[in-house]
C-alpha cells in the first residue's frame, strides 16, 4: 500500500518532515477534540445554566474562552504550522535539516497551550478575546513559535531555483505576520497594558488579525496548492493570484475596527474598518474566482479525493463567510446584529467551515505522503465529512436565525432584554445538538489519525529517524 513512485528528492523532503509535521497534526487532532468538547459544554450551559453548576472552574466564563483558545492555538495554529512547513518544503523541494529543533519547539508550543488552558480554567484569564492566556504563557508560545517559524523561512530560502508559487507567498506572509500580531498585542495588552481606551482597538485589530492574517492565509495557501495539484492542472490565472494576494494583504489587516462601531474610539477608525471590510470583498471575489474556477468542470473528482472534497468545500465557505463578514460590517446591519448569535455563527463558519475544513483537506493529503500509507478506513472519512458539514450547517443556520430574532428584539423598545435572550434559546438548543455532532466528527478524525499512526508503527519498524538528512 505504498504510494506511487516519487522522485528521490521528494522522498528526502518528506522523510525529513515526517516527525515534526506528524507531531503538529497529532497534537492538533487532540486539541480539536478537547476544544469541541469544551465548546459543547459551554453552549449547553448557555441553554441550561444548571448544567455542571458548582465549582468555579466549570463556569461559563472559564469554559467558553478555554474552548476558543484550545481551538485557535491548539488545533488551528498547530495544524497550520504543520501544513506551512510541509508546503514550503514541498514547493521549494528543500528538505528540513535539523528537524529536532521544530520538534522540540512544537512540544513546547503544546505545553504552552496546555498551561494556558489550565490558567484560564483556574481563573487566571486575561479576559481579552484570544489573548486570555496569562503573560508567561504567551511568552512561551511566542518563543516556541519563533523556533518553528524560522524553519519555514529557512525552507523558503533554501528553495530550488525557479518561480515562487502563490501558496508560498501566503505562507511566508503569514509566518511573518503572526509574530508581529502576537508580540504587539501581548506587549500592549498583556505584558505592559496601555491605558484603557486604547485597549479595545488593539484587541479588535488582534482578534481579526488572528483569522485574517494568520489562519486564513495558511488555509488559502493550502487550497491554492491542493486544488490544482490534485486535479493536475494549472491554476486558473496567474494575474488573479497576484491581484488577490496583494489586495488581501492590503485590506485584511484593517477590518477589525469595524467591530467597535458605536464604541468610544475616533470615528475615522471605525469608518476605516468598515471601508476595509467592504473592500475586502475584492480579494475574496478574486481568490474565489481563481480557486473555484480551477475546479470548473472537474467536480466529479470530489468523489474520489477526500482532500479535494474538504478543500473545495472550505474554499466555498471562504466566499460565503467573508461576504457575510462584509455585510455584517455595514453600519446599518451592525446596528441590528452586532451583539447577537449571528456573530457566533459567523465565527464558527470562519473557524470550522473555512479554516478547519481546508486544514482537514490538507491533512488528508499530507499524511499518506509522509507515512507512505493510506488512511486506514475510507468510510470513516466520509462520515467525518458529512457529519462535520451537516453539524456545522445546522449550527450556523440556527444561530443565524436565532441571532436575527434576538437582534430585532434587542432593537424593539417594547421588548425586555431577558425576552430577547429567551427568543434565542430554542435556536441555541439546536446549536447544542449540532455541537455534539461536531464533537463526534472531531472524534472520528482523531480516531482515524491515531489509528493510521498505530498501523504505521506496527507495520514498519519504529519510525525512521527523521533527523537524518
Amino acid at each position: 500500500m505504498t504510494t506511487s513512485a516519487r522522485s528521490p528528492q521528494v522522498e528526502k523532503v518528506d522523510a525529513s518532515l515526517r516527525l515534526p509535521v506528524l507531531i503538529f497534526f497529532g497534537s492538533a487532532a487532540l486539541w480539536l477534540v478537547v476544544g469541541t468538547f469544551l465548546a459543547a459544554v459551554a453552549l449547553t450551559k448557555l441553554v441550561w445554566p444548571q448544567f455542571l453548576d458548582g465549582p468555579a472552574f466549570l463556569t461559563y466564563g472559564r469554559i467558553a474562552p478555554a474552548a476558543v483558545n484550545a481551538l485557535v492555538y491548539g488545533w488551528a495554529s498547530s495544524a497550520g504550522l504543520g501544513i506551512a512547513l510541509w508546503l514550503l518544503a514541498r514547493l521549494g523541494r528543500a528538505p528540513l535539516n535539523y528537524a529536532v529543533l521544530p520538534v522540540v519547539a512544537g512540544l513546547v508550543w503544546n505545553f504552552g497551550v496546555f498551561l494556558g488552558l489550565l490558567a484560564i480554567i483556574g481563573g487566571y484569564s486575561r479576559s481579552i478575546f484570544l489573548l486570555e492566556f496569562p503573560g508567561f504563557v504567551s511568552a512561551i508560545l511566542f518563543v516556541a513559535y519563533l523556533f518553528i517559524a524560522v524553519w519555514g523561512i529557512v525552507l523558503f530560502r533554501n528553495r530550488a531555483a525557479g518561480a515562487v508559487f502563490v501558496s508560498a507567498w501566503y505562507l511566508v506572509a503569514a509566518l511573518l505576520w503572526f509574530p508581529g500580531l502576537y508580540f504587539t498585542a501581548n506587549a500592549l495588552l498583556v505584558w505592559h497594558p496601555v491605558p484603557g481606551p486604547a485597549q479595545a482597538p488593539i484587541g479588535a485589530w488582534f482578534s481579526s488579525g488572528i483569522v485574517n492574517l494568520w489562519l486564513a492565509p495558511i488555509a488559502l495557501a493550502a487550497a491554492f496548492y491542493l486544488i490544482p495539484q490534485i486535479l493536475g492542472r494549472r491554476l486558473l490565472s496567474y494575474n488573479l493570484s497576484l491581484l488577490g494576494f496583494w489586495s488581501f494583504a492590503l485590506f485584511a489587516a484593517w477590518t477589525g475596527m469595524a467591530q467597535l462601531i458605536g464604541g468610544p474610539i475616533p470615528a475615522w477608525m471605525v469608518s476605516v474598518g468598515v471601508v476595509s471590510s467592504i473592500l475586502l470583498f475584492i480579494p475574496v471575489l478574486v481568490i474565489s474566482i481563481n480557486l473555484l474556477g480551477t475546479m470548473q468542470g472537474s467536480y466529479g473528482a470530489l468523489r474520489w479525493s477526500p482532500s479535494l472534497l474538504f478543500t473545495v468545500t472550505g474554499a466555498g465557505v471562504f466566499l460565503l463567510a467573508y461576504v457575510q463578514g462584509t455585510l455584517l460590517a455595514l453600519p446599518g446591519v451592525a446596528a441590528i446584529f452586532h451583539f447577537t448569535d449571528v456573530l457566533i455563527g459567523h465565527g464558527a463558519l470562519l473557524l470550522f467551515g473555512f479554516v478547519s475544513m481546508v486544514f482537514f483537506g490538507a491533512i488528508y493529503y499530507i499524511v499518506p505522503r509522509l507515512t507512505g500509507r493510506d488512511w486506514n478506513g475510507d468510510g470513516l472519512i466520509r462520515w467525518h465529512f458529512w457529519l462535520f458539514v451537516g453539524a456545522l450547517g445546522v449550527a450556523y443556520v440556527s444561530l443565524t436565525f436565532g441571532g436575527m430574532v434576538q437582534g430585532f428584539a434587542l432593537n424593539d423598545p417594547g421588548v425586555r432584554f431577558a425576552s430577547s435572550v429567551g427568543f434565542a434559546t430554542p435556536f441555541r438548543l439546536v446549536a447544542v445538538l449540532s455541537a455534539l455532532a461536531l464533537l463526534l466528527a472531531s472524534n472520528i478524525f482523531a480516531h482515524l489519525f491515531f489509528r493510521t499512526m498505530l498501523a504505521v508503527l506496527e507495520e514498519t519498524k519504529p519510525l525512521p529517524e527523521a533527523v537524518t538528512v
Binding site: S237, P266, A267, R416
Partner: protein
C-alpha cells in the same frame, strides 16, 4: 463505499510551481476591473463622509451628512417616547396594561385620565410625586373610585427614565399633554427627599398645582378650568 476514495493513489506528477510560472498571463476580465473600481469609489466616498476629517476628537459617525456638514458632535439625545415605551413595558404595563386602560375595579386607566393629563385639580407635579413615592388609599379616576396601592418607583427609576415614561403616557393612546423634562423630575425629587411613604389623594389635593413650563401651563390647564371647582369639594 467507493474503494477509490483514497488519497495516496493520486499521482502528483504535475509540478504546480512550473505550471504557475508558465509565460502566458491571462488578462483580468474587464467586468472585474470595473467592479473593483466601483467598490473603491464607494469605499472612498464612505470614508470621506464618515471619517470626521480624521480628527482624533470626533467620535460619532452618526451625525455626519453626505454633504460633510454637521461633522461629529455629541450624539442626539434618545427619543423619550422610545425610552418611555421601554420603561412602561418593563415597570408599568403589569398593572396599567400595555393599552393603558388598566383593569376595571383594580387598576385605574391612564388613557384620558385627568391625573395623567393634569386636568381638574391635578398638576404636572402630582403625577411625578406619585411615580416617585407611590400612591395608596381611595382614589377617583374619571369618576370611578379605586382602592389599591401603587408601588414607589423613585428608588428603581432614574430621573430621565421617569421623565421619559411620563412623557410617554401623556402622549400615547390619544393622550396629549406637554412632555415632562428631566429637570422637573429632579426638582421634585429633591423637594421630597425626606418623604418615604406613598401619597394619598387627600394629601396631593392639598398641594398646589405646578406645571412644567410657563408657556405650557395655561394651555393644559385651560380645558380643565371649568370643572376645577367641582373636584376640591370631594
Amino acid at each position: 463505499m467507493d474503494e477509490r476514495f483514497r488519497e495516496s493513489e493520486l499521482a502528483s506528477k504535475v509540478d504546480v510551481t512550473a505550471l504557475h510560472a508558465a509565460p502566458e498571463r491571462e488578462p483580468v476580465a474587464l467586468w472585474l476591473i470595473v467592479l473593483i473600481m466601483v467598490l473603491m469609489f464607494f469605499g472612498g466616498i464612505f470614508l470621506w463622509a464618515n471619517s470626521g476629517g480624521f480628527q482624533s476628537n470626533i467620535y460619532n459617525t452618526n451625525k455626519i451628512s453626505w454633504s460633510g456638514a454637521g461633522t461629529g458632535g455629541p450624539a442626539a439625545p434618545p427619543d423619550p417616547m422610545v425610552v418611555g415605551k421601554r420603561v412602561f413595558t418593563q415597570s408599568c404595563a403589569v398593572c396599567h396594561q400595555t393599552n393603558g386602560e388598566g383593569v376595571a375595579g383594580q387598576f385605574p386607566p391612564l388613557v384620558g385620565s385627568e391625573w395623567v393629563l393634569s386636568q381638574d385639580w391635578h398638576g404636572d407635579n402630582h403625577i411625578v410625586k406619585i411615580v416617585l413615592n407611590g400612591l395608596q388609599g381611595v382614589v377617583t379616576v374619571k369618576n370611578v373610585p379605586y382602592n389599591n396601592a401603587m408601588a414607589p418607583w423613585g428608588a428603581v427609576l432614574k430621573d430621565d427614565q421617569i421623565a421619559a415614561v411620563l412623557t410617554y403616557v401623556r402622549n400615547e393612546w390619544g393622550n396629549k399633554a406637554p412632555p415632562i423634562p428631566v429637570e422637573f423630575v429632579s426638582k421634585i425629587r429633591e423637594a421630597n427627599k425626606a418623604r418615604s411613604e406613598p401619597w394619598t389623594q387627600k394629601e396631593l389635593q392639598a398641594i398646589n398645582r405646578e406645571f412644567v413650563g410657563p408657556a405650557a401651563a395655561p394651555d393644559s390647564a385651560a380645558p380643565a378650568a371649568p370643572t376645577a371647582p367641582t373636584a376640591p369639594g370631594a
